[in-house]
């Protein structure tokens, strides 16, 4: 039984993988150890029920953290959850956590928030770890150089029971972004540019490592935004090599390595970056200078263009299946080929989600909004990623900037990213959204989503239409 990759230079992904293989079968299928498991209310009830039926326990309650996020209201929280089925799901998680001994951040806990904001914020997410959650945006945690990916409920049950998963190693893709980004260009634009280039299936079967000077220059928040949307590029996981920015972010957080182990941990983390000469299955390069502030026009995250562009014409697409998808998307979005994206009028603005609801995102939005008012026909809301993000923003006075401009200042949760609570678009409503998916019906049946950065969303709120943020800086 071999448990190591071939000797020689290894990538970050290969190093983490090798360190977690417990057993490797003939066909390459591995049993890998899972260091951290995040749990939320939507994808866990059936998993806990499975444990109960089989008389199994949670193997490592100390490596498991549960949080309510998808269903929770972001307003009038003291009144509880109005929808009976959402309430039942949240109560079921509370009951399960109590029964199985899992720590839960419930709705009243100020540490509560979106699972992928909470994990890093608590210092639970660390380099070199394997981290899973029944949620595709678990890829977010890869920003720390952790192998983190989303799993289904059956696998949630498998991890709860065994602290392992049965997996085959993925292929490895390197995405290099060199250079310096221009004004108004954020991590969100960099990632939308990647998705636009490789497509939503471009990363299928791969783990993506993001590298290059433009990635190195990003804060942890920016790296999380990029890794978060790896799944929109088809990759289960994204990775950024850990460095001083990573270590500084983790140090002192509640679940960070204990003081006595800190130096040993950092010494190990420093061994993780890919070795010189390590090879990848696929390499993609982008120049940071070529990336403009971007916005999506269609119903797939790959339908992305610079804000200065015009709505594309399906007649120019040669592939029949793609042409049909474009026609369908434009009809759904209510857009006409040739129309300037900057002329597209919006109804709502949503600044939130596991992609863009961290403190830096709120600061970026506030910097555009400060001293301005939102357009009279627009309803705009800010949904911080966690109670702690909200608290920090209030300490910095950001809430006042948002409220003065006419924004709603909500409590933490997934909210209108997927509209499982009552924060939804109505049919035909058009939303400038900092979230991650513009699928048909994603934010509400018939709702139309344009994905963009927090600064771009803020600009759209002010003018009432999709807007080039560079004109407002």
């Amino acid at each position: 039984m071999t448990t190591k990759s071939p000797a020689g230079p290894r990538t970050l992904f290969q190093k983490i993988w090798d360190d977690h293989v417990i057993e490797r079968a003939e066909d390459g299928t591995c049993l890998i150890y899972i260091d951290r498991h995040l749990v939320h209310e939507v994808t866990s009830p059936q998993a806990f029920e499975g444990l109960r039926m089989a008389g199994r326990r949670v193997r490592r309650t100390d490596a498991t953290l549960a949080v309510v996020d998808h269903n929770v209201p972001t307003i009038n929280r003291n009144k509880g959850i109005a929808e009976a089925d959402s309430r039942l799901q949240v109560e079921t998680l509370e009951k399960n956590c109590k029964e199985f001994g899992v720590t839960l951040f419930n709705m009243k806990d100020k540490r509560q928030g979106i699972v992928h904001v909470v994990g890093p914020e608590q210092g639970m997410t660390q380099p070199g770890m394997t981290i899973v959650c029944g949620d595709s945006h678990t890829s977010t945690h890869g920003a720390f150089g952790a192998l983190a990916f989303g799993i289904g409920t059956s696998e949630v049950e498998h991890v709860l029971a065994t602290q392992t998963l049965i997996q085959k190693p993925a292929k490895n893709m390197l995405i290099m972004i060199e250079g310096q980004t221009g004004p108004g260009v954020t991590a969100k634009d960099m990632m939308l540019a990647v998705i636009g280039k490789i497509g939503t299936a471009g990363g299928t079967g791969h783990v993506i490592e993001f590298a290059g000077s433009a990635v190195r220059a990003l804060s942890m928040e920016g790296r999380m935004t990029m890794c978060n949307m790896s799944i929109e590029a088809g990759a289960r996981a994204g990775l950024v090599a850990p460095d001083e920015i990573t270590f500084n972010y983790i140090k002192g957080r509640p679940m960070a390595p204990a003081e006595a182990h800190w130096d040993t941990a950092v010494a190990y983390w420093r061994t993780l970056p890919s070795d010189p000469g390590a090879t990848y299955d696929t390499v993609v390069s982008l120049a940071a200078e070529d990336i403009a502030p971007l916005v999506t026009w269609g119903t797939s995250p790959q339908d992305v263009l610079p804000i200065t562009a015009k709505v594309p014409n399906p007649a120019d697409e040669k592939d029949a299946a793609k042409r049909a998808a474009m026609e369908r998307a434009l009809e759904y979005m209510g857009l006409t080929p040739g129309e300037s994206l900057e002329d597209v009028r919006i109804d709502k603005v949503f600044i939130g989600s596991c992609t863009n609801a961290r403190i830096e995102d709120l600061r970026a939005a506030a910097s555009i909004i400060k001293g301005r008012k939102i357009a009279s026909h627009v309803q705009a809301m800010i949904v911080p990623g966690s109670g702690l993000v909200k608290e920090q923003a209030e300490q910095e006075g950001l809430d006042k900037i948002f409220l003065d401009a006419g924004f709603e200042w909500r409590d933490a949760g997934c909210s209108m990213c997927l509209g499982m609570n009552s924060d939804r678009l109505k049919p035909g409503e058009r939303c400038a959204s900092t979230s991650n998916r513009n699928f048909e019906g994603r934010q509400g049946r018939g709702g139309r989503t344009h994905l963009l950065s927090p600064a771009m969303a803020a600009a759209a709120a002010i003018t009432g239409k999709l807007t080039d943020v560079r004109k407002m800086q």
Binding site: D27, Q46, D62, D85, Q89, S136, A161, M420, P427
Partner: protein, 202 residues
Amino acid sequence: MKAFTKLKAVAAPLPLINVDTDMIIPKQFLTTIERTGLGKNLFNDIRYRDDGQERPDFVLNRSPYRTSEILVAGENFGCGSSREHAPWALLDFGIRCVIAASFADIFYNNCFKNGILPVILPHTQVDVLMKSAEAGKMIEVDLSTQTLSDGVNIFTFEIGEFRKLCLINGLDDIGLTLEKEKAITAHEQSLMADKPWILKSA
């Protein structure tokens, strides 16, 4: 989990690319705490009108596709959210096999946990089967020989050995993993020695 061996059934053609799991089962049905009962909501927003009436043009609302057990779809099927409610909804409707040129990774994996066989074929072969499905022909799948036939053409497909074994025997992989208790404990002991911070945080 129900074992998958052979299946001969009506196949529904769904020639859309990038069908996401939001489309397969929209968010309003994710509040369930059960695995069953989602079949009636499968493809809800494209299957029903706003007033709840069936859209007559949607494939699963037409004869003979109401009883389909196979789905032939465009590339990158099952992209987006990791929700296992997507395969649960397919299974609850009666779909046991999905054929496409490619699948999103998490959805592909989730299928195997629910006795659904996802079959990856080259575009040209999917196109052939799409036409057969549109003509209402039955498609026959044999997992043991890894073959698939519409009565005229026979295609072979690839599948991982371990996944095939679990599917054919309907194995519960948690049970299999728990037999490796010693190896898992040994890994944890080595962590305690080499990387104690992973086992014990501050």
